[in-house]
Symmetry: C3
Subunit: 131 residues, 3 copies
């Protein structure tokens, strides 16, 4: 399944937990895991706190201090920082499913991580049954 | 399956390889993978050397230099560094299983990564058969 | 399945996408995912742009600035930087498969990440059907 995302900032985390939960219900997956995959090289996906918006904000700002937009890079497109951050967050995350429910912790949400927006983006989802 | 963990330091890596191995045996998984998932937002999981304790120590100390506890963060709980490190290590790892055995390299162990302890923590395990 | 790799530099990303694609064809996997696992503690795997070679080069160089080879480490083997980078990139990646095809984005490739070469290395592959 495909989620279409429209980011509206250069760097932005977008909570996609509800879409992933809905996908698991639609697929009727009872026991296994769902793989969330980002088919881009300047965006990633991570699981972190989705209750207080300062958490994703601090992640973005801090990564940006350590891996600045205007660093000493060779890649001519000017978005090397975004490629680095994409690899650090990772291109996929795997969430367990039991009794048809995502096994996320109380404070966990799944974030699409835009590092080179704004853009139209896609997220791919796949349900994997445990056996 | 659930592993309960009691961390006793603020930042600490705890080797959970033997529990994951035992789980695979109990499940009778012969061929597939096991997903190790951390349902917390200030802890993660990583695979690295579990032979020399200076390896996890160097990872913790070095991450702490780059992403310090007392940095310039907005999140008021004072643990933004831990949220960042959790996303960098990741909330899950996937280990292959063949002939009922974890396919870890000679020096590899699975570490629960505490970044905001000491706390009671949980790790979730799921066996996924290859077909 | 096992891929043998011979790295020839100390730090180097090697594109293994074609081997992973070939494996999926050989396995006859139609729908599910393939897990790419690195059984080493000073090497990792990541998905990023494999079109312009300056992208992996910028990732290597930038990680090396932030996590230098000769840092203030305790581990006596002198490769702590490589252990840290291995955990940051991760020991596995998961790629979705539909209709027998890897669901990679246009610019995405799968890179084996050598951080302590040159060495003989291995990569393990496992096909997981969706149900």
């Amino acid at each position: 399944m495909l989620i279409n995302i429209r980011t509206n900032q250069e760097q932005q985390f977008i909570d996609i937990t509800s879409q992933v939960r809905k996908f698991v219900e639609q697929e009727g997956l009872k026991d296994g895991c769902v793989v969330v995959f980002v088919p881009h090289t300047t965006a990633g996906v991570t699981i972190n706190e989705n209750s207080d918006p300062t958490v994703p904000r601090d992640i973005i700002v801090t990564l940006d201090k350590v891996f600045p937009v205007h660093g000493d890079y060779t890649h001519l497109e000017g978005n090397s920082h975004a490629h680095i951050k994409a690899s650090l967050m990772g291109s996929s995350c795997t969430v367990l499913v039991e009794n048809g429910q995502l096994q996320l912790g109380t404070w966990q949400g799944i974030f699409f991580c835009e590092f080179d927006g704004p853009r139209h983006r896609k997220v791919l989802l796949k349900a994997i049954a445990s056996s």
